[in-house]
Symmetry: C2
Subunit: 819 residues, 2 copies
């Protein structure tokens, strides 16, 4: 048992002078530490015991919550579920953070990274009083304790993680790896906030966590807050040791320093010594954080600091049973879940459970009514300083509307449909630029992306801001500064995690990404969507800003990327989640994109997926018509149709920018060759309009759907993504049997823009052939036209393989409105 | 320009003695290095220039491949696509690796981690001759050069990454982050193999790559090969610097040492000095690898070595244009793609392109026919030692069938349907155990999982093997050893990447994972499925073993995990990929699971997804019937049906273990209350049977489908996953309009097994109510029964909220066959 304050036994020659001074000052403080009286340390230990007692109680007790009588089998839950392993360590940390909050008047929240730390955060928010304030039924008395215990991992109760139901949580953590990214997202633009982020040593093996340590290169010590990582090195996962616990001490020290941190090690298992070490270390690191911040804020020194962090090396299942059935439990992976199981069939376990519970001496901690004794309750911070009550952890409370420019001011002039545009996302970039500028003072909007913001067409934002970057800079860098509204790291996980943390603490943002690679965060999206669903059902959780994805660089334009960059399936993934929280938009042109993005940035508590192109492309709608079209989400394009409001022969539906282009090109071919054909063009912006209203709140009524798509006419639907998604959304519709969908079907490589559509049968020629196939009344002219189009396809193939680009008639095609 | 062999300027006190000795020996060798004659270094430089010339040619040249005449605009491709930035550095590495292969007779393959290194690997495999052997049309002469140049990033040509079309590649790398995991997967059980793995410094920012450095804790120096990571620190991504290039040198050194590596830095931009430094360093690291290996193999010292690695710090776009249009290019992110663009509109660029190409002095490198001069061609390794020809990089060449135990020997005894089982995956575990044992000598089968192999029910494997682990061990560890067939790290990315590398080099494996968290590797699966699709179309690429997923711990059993652990959508994601490479199985019981897994382990070039439960569950089929059922993939369960081969009133379909249980329980309710109802039970094991044969090779014909599901009777389909997937697969079927699917719809938390089905309307009571709703002929008895079942649901809710477990009648329910 020793306090190894920073693990340094050789010269820190790599420290900056400023850093070394800070550290020396800190060491002096450590040695002078006299505020930690024995009484205070004793009380902290009692508080810890109380939290541990409540944690074990949650796992085991159905009744007899204060052990006022000997424990009986009927006091134990039938099914013993939960995880003890990480809990005592987190209780230890929480108790010490409480003291530090009081001592330094800290604005601090707590992120529980390790799996299954639910008992700890529930116990602590109950002890500090926030739990009972939110759930008055779980009162601070014996009956409240009984209910607190029963509800844990019990039907109708609460899960075993720091779930949304738990006050103070912004991070459920059922899926591991995102704690540190969330923590950093929370402190961006929150200069007074410190996030104490407990990182599990199991969690630390995940990829997202392994790169999240580098977040310190993106933090501005003046205008952002601080993250205090506490690596909880308890040594084991479910059934294995952890990697970081089984490398050499010096290696771990090097690794963390290599990541840019200054590690402080608190190691041991004797509670008294550990309390002292933890308290002194916490004082040291908080002082160091404050010195770094004042150095940046008062002296203007924004040199990247080596922020402090703590490595807490304590036994897994600390204070739990040492040995059970001759198997060592404390300090091994056997303490991961429920150390003493099944007293019904192992009656010898019952007294051991009782001994364990009584080892915390509940009678010293709670009064007869079951209330925490005042001298202990006093240890908790007060009011909003309690980590369970801190408003940052209920971000909707702090959320302010963005100042929004009028998106109509960015309108693309579209004198007639088909006017050539510069690339839709480039137009959007000007709008986003001004969103950034208008909210620059509020500092509550950021753009995130994996080094693709320019590639995705949003270069205009760099006219008013930079990429925030706190590592070294070079003479040829561009748009890189200590402070900026754009966060770019080549890790979709980091972008997503940072943005989630930013949103969860009450701010706004946008994630721009290549469409194919957004799948990298499929599982993170899952967890966030689940968070949104559950919090939307908790009245005390205020709504937060939506998570907005802009997916540019999409499947249909792959001139120099190819098959690996082609996957439009993220929306398939998204629409599996609750309809109440997901929205999908495919604006066909820039004015629609502007209208859609304005809507998304104003919305609350959704995930909005917006897919748009960045390449020059025809524009279809004036801003006035675009706004109306987007508000409706779907509609007939009269100007492209010739059914004159009557019955069409065929409906040409399209969704997505490239499918819209090909559809309109197909219409011009048909108008020329089959002029008597009555064609209706339907464009879909809001994909969820296609679902029945019973399935999605945006869903069209069946009558409205039938009015657009008819009850019996062929519908040729050109879709941006996998074609079967349209079938999945529309299979209950009257005219579904006549719906023929073209979309991406995993065909493609490096090739020309038009050839991508040809390879997937989505091109204008195939679309016309699809119409002919479904309208036998066209007769011989149809057969002739099909032959003509088949020849066109051969001509196309030969041309591109010779010239490396599309035929002039394709490249130069423009829509011309009918007379 | 300096050679900093290991960046150590302070004492390496953390080195082991053995390691320090190795290093000292290595330093001596370095100083004695005399094999690198000036002539050799000159020739290596020429070889590098040749590769650079071919790389620039690929990006630019449409004709005039040897610059026999002045460059004209018509010699340049219309669209200039490709990426120069990473290419010269990779050409440099490849040339030096060639020398080392020759000098030490190395069995080595090359993994190109950075994005868009295609021009380099294509150029080098062309220079060494493998390219022309595989593609005789791309011959080693002027005409071959012309074709080589044209095909790059050209319609009908090849992509810009190390795509499957490129010999020697096992890693396309369009999506970044997996190079190092692939490299380790390749060397497991390949003791003579060295994988030279170039890691991009952009790629190094991704989560998967950041944790992949830790793979060295899982490598056995005696029985596995070696990975030589070469961190290519060229400083920039698309438009940003990289993190690792902008931290302090000492920090990078610490980081890599903290990851357990011994870094050797080769830094500079002067080619001559860099050649010398790189050659000497390569000698040093190869010698060190050999010493580590002989120390392990001859001395039996399996202490984890600090393997050597190289940091190559060279300019991005090295040897390319220094400045273009007054913007610095070489050594900045501006060299990422095409440094000199669009000579048609910028005629001043044309002579610069020519100057650039001529700066490599092609006339010194190629003879008049366009063939590489013999003194340079001689530098390449010979035969299979060429990295483009190494059979490990075309793993199917080395693939041997697994020795398979007879799965029927593991049959669960099922005296009658409904016999209680111990949990299906536990039965499978015995079979996998023996697969491991039977192939122990061949060392060509491994099980991968994120610390879940026991949790997923495969504990039996630890009777015959261990988890391979080369970090420290402790007294309470279990099944942890220097050598073992199970690879467990808490990173789904690592498990997937290792397994992919293992399969791609001709071995077999199984990935076991919690169902919900397999989404973490959605995007990796995408890339592997794309690789399989493309390689299946290349005759010279031999088929490899299938990638087998066992998804246990599935959505329906969440007693102590909850909502975060509930997502059955991976199969939605999988079936978006080409039908020719994806298979999905949901065996309803253990005998079916055994039959399915036997099939999967024997199969080739697929991704097989198998979903199975681990909890005690009823068993339905004897091995004989199970084998037949699985071979058919779908079928009527006569023993549970009472339509006697005639027309049923209703079809009760089920897919998945829990849905099958609830369906059969619903059937017993109906048999009791509605005995005259003619019920047909259809069970689906092979999900793709539901699709039309035009969509998937396993698809049932429409006639066969109609014969099972009728043309007009109600079908109540209880499905394991999201219900709309069944609609997406069956929307073209005759009876689709009568298909009513129940499945998971994002409702759930911690609750009892049965309650999970209730929350999602998949339980027996809801299924019966669904039948009643669709059969009005049942009349008043139906209304009475519905009321009865609704009361049951209320009773259920009250019971679980009091007792924390399901009602006895649910827990104890068993199937009883009709008289």
């Amino acid at each position: 048992m020793f306090l190894s304050t920073n693990g340094n036994r050789h010269e820190d020659h790599w420290e900056t002078r400023e850093e070394r001074e800070l550290r020396n000052q800190t060491m002096t403080i450590l040695q002078d530490q006299s505020t930690l009286s024995p009484e205070l340390l004793h009380n902290i230990d009692s508080y810890w015991r109380a939290a541990n007692y409540l944690s074990v109680g949650q796992i085991y007790l159905y009744d007899n919550p204060l052990l006022k009588r000997p424990l009986e089998l009927s006091d134990i839950k039938h099914m013993l579920l939960g995880h003890w392993g990480t809990t005592p360590g987190q209780n230890f940390i929480y108790a010490h953070l409480n003291r530090a909050i009081n001592q330094y008047d800290l604005d601090m929240i707590y992120v529980s990274g390790p799996g299954h730390g639910g008992p700890a955060v529930v116990a602590n928010t109950y002890l500090e009083g926030t739990y009972s304030e939110i759930y008055p039924d779980i009162s601070q008395d014996e009956e409240g304790l009984r209910k607190l215990f029963i509800q844990f991992s019990f039907p109708g109760g609460i899960p075993s993680h720091a779930s949304p139901e738990c006050p103070g949580s912004i991070h459920e953590g059922g899926e591991l790896g995102y704690s540190l990214s969330h923590a950093f997202g929370a402190v961006f633009d929150n200069p007074e906030l410190i996030v104490a982020c407990v990182v599990g040593d199991g969690e630390a093996e995940t990829g997202p966590l392994a790169t999240a340590w580098h977040s310190n290169k993106f933090l501005n010590p003046a205008s952002d807050g601080a993250v205090l990582p506490i690596l909880h090195l308890n040594g084991y996962k479910i059934a294995n040791p952890t990697v970081l616990a089984r490398i050499e001490h010096e290696e771990l020290d090097q690794l963390l320093r290599g990541y840019g941190w200054t590690p402080y090690f608190v190691e041991g298992n004797d509670p008294q010594a550990m309390h002292k070490a933890m308290a002194e270390t916490l004082d040291a690191v908080i002082e160091q954080i404050h010195r770094i911040q004042s150095n940046a804020r008062e002296n203007g020194d924004l040199t990247r600091p080596r922020w402090p962090m703590i490595v807490l090396n304590s036994p897994k299942g600390w204070t739990g049973p040492k040995v059970v059935d001759d198997i060592p439990v404390e300090g091994t992976f056997h303490s991961h879940q429920v150390p003493l199981s099944d007293p019904a069939t192992h009656p010898e376990h019952l007294p051991l459970i009782e001994d364990w519970l009584r080892s915390y001496r509940p009678e010293e901690l709670f009064d007869k009514t079951g209330r925490l004794k005042p001298e202990l309750a006093n240890l908790a911070p007060k009011g909003d300083r309690r980590m369970g009550a801190n408003p940052h952890a209920n971000g909707g409370k702090l959320l302010r509307d963005l100042e929004m420019p009028n998106f109509r001011d960015y309108a693309v002039h579209v004198p007639e449909p088909g006017a050539q545009g510069i690339g839709d996302t480039h137009e959007l970039g000007r709008f986003i630029r001004d969103v950034i500028q208008l909210n620059d003072d509020e500092r509550n909007f950021r753009v995130f992306g994996p080094d693709e913001t320019i590639s995705n067409g949003l270069e205009a934002v760099f006219n008013v801001t930079d990429r925030q970057w706190d590592a070294r800079t070079g003479v040829n860098d561009e748009s890189l500064a200590r402070s900026g509204r754009v966060m770019e790291m080549l890790s979709e996980h980091q972008c997503e995690g940072w943005l989630e943390g930013y949103l969860l603490t009450g701010r706004h943002g946008l994630f721009n990404c290549y469409e194919a690679f957004i799948h990298i965060v499929d599982s993170m999206f899952n967890q966030h969507a689940k968070w949104l669903k559950v919090t939307s059902e908790l009245p005390w959780r205020k709504k937060i800003a939506s998570l907005n994805y802009l997916l540019a660089s999409h499947v249909w334009r792959q001139d120099h990327n190819g098959f690996t960059h082609q996957d439009p399936g993220f929306i398939d993934h998204v629409v599996n989640k609750k309809a109440s929280v997901v929205r999908v938009y495919l604006p066909p042109d820039a004015n629609c994109l502007l209208s859609v993005m304005d809507h998304c940035l104003r919305s609350r508590h959704y995930v909005n997926v917006v897919i748009a192109g960045k390449h020059p492309a025809p524009q279809w709608l004036t801003m006035e018509t675009a706004e109306k079209h987007c508000a409706e989400g779907i509609g007939v394009w009269d100007w492209a149709s010739n059914d004159d409001g009557g019955d069409p022969d065929v409906v040409m539906a399209c969704c997505g920018d490239v499918p819209t282009l090909e559809t309109l090109a197909a219409v011009t071919i048909m108008r020329q060759h089959l002029p008597e054909l009555k064609i209706r063009v339907v464009n879909v912006v809001d994909l969820m309009k296609l679902q029945p209203p019973s399935e999605h709140p945006h869903g069209l009524s069946d009558d409205a759907f039938d009015a657009l798509f008819t009850k019996d006419k062929p519908v040729i639907f050109a879709f941006h993504a996998y074609p079967w998604l349209i079938h999945r959304l529309t299979y209950r519709r009257t005219n579904h049997r006549n719906l023929h969908v073209r979309g991406y079907k995993e065909e493609g490589t490096i090739t020309t823009p038009f050839d991508m559509t040809v390879l997937n049968d989505l091109d204008r020629f195939h679309l016309v052939m699809d119409v002919i196939d479904r309208l036998p009344q066209i007769g011989g002219r149809g057969i002739t036209l099909k032959q003509h189009l088949a020849n066109k396809l051969i001509e196309h193939r030969e041309y591109i393989c010779t010239h490396g680009q599309d035929m002039p008639e394709i490249r130069n095609w423009t829509w011309s409105s009918p007379e």
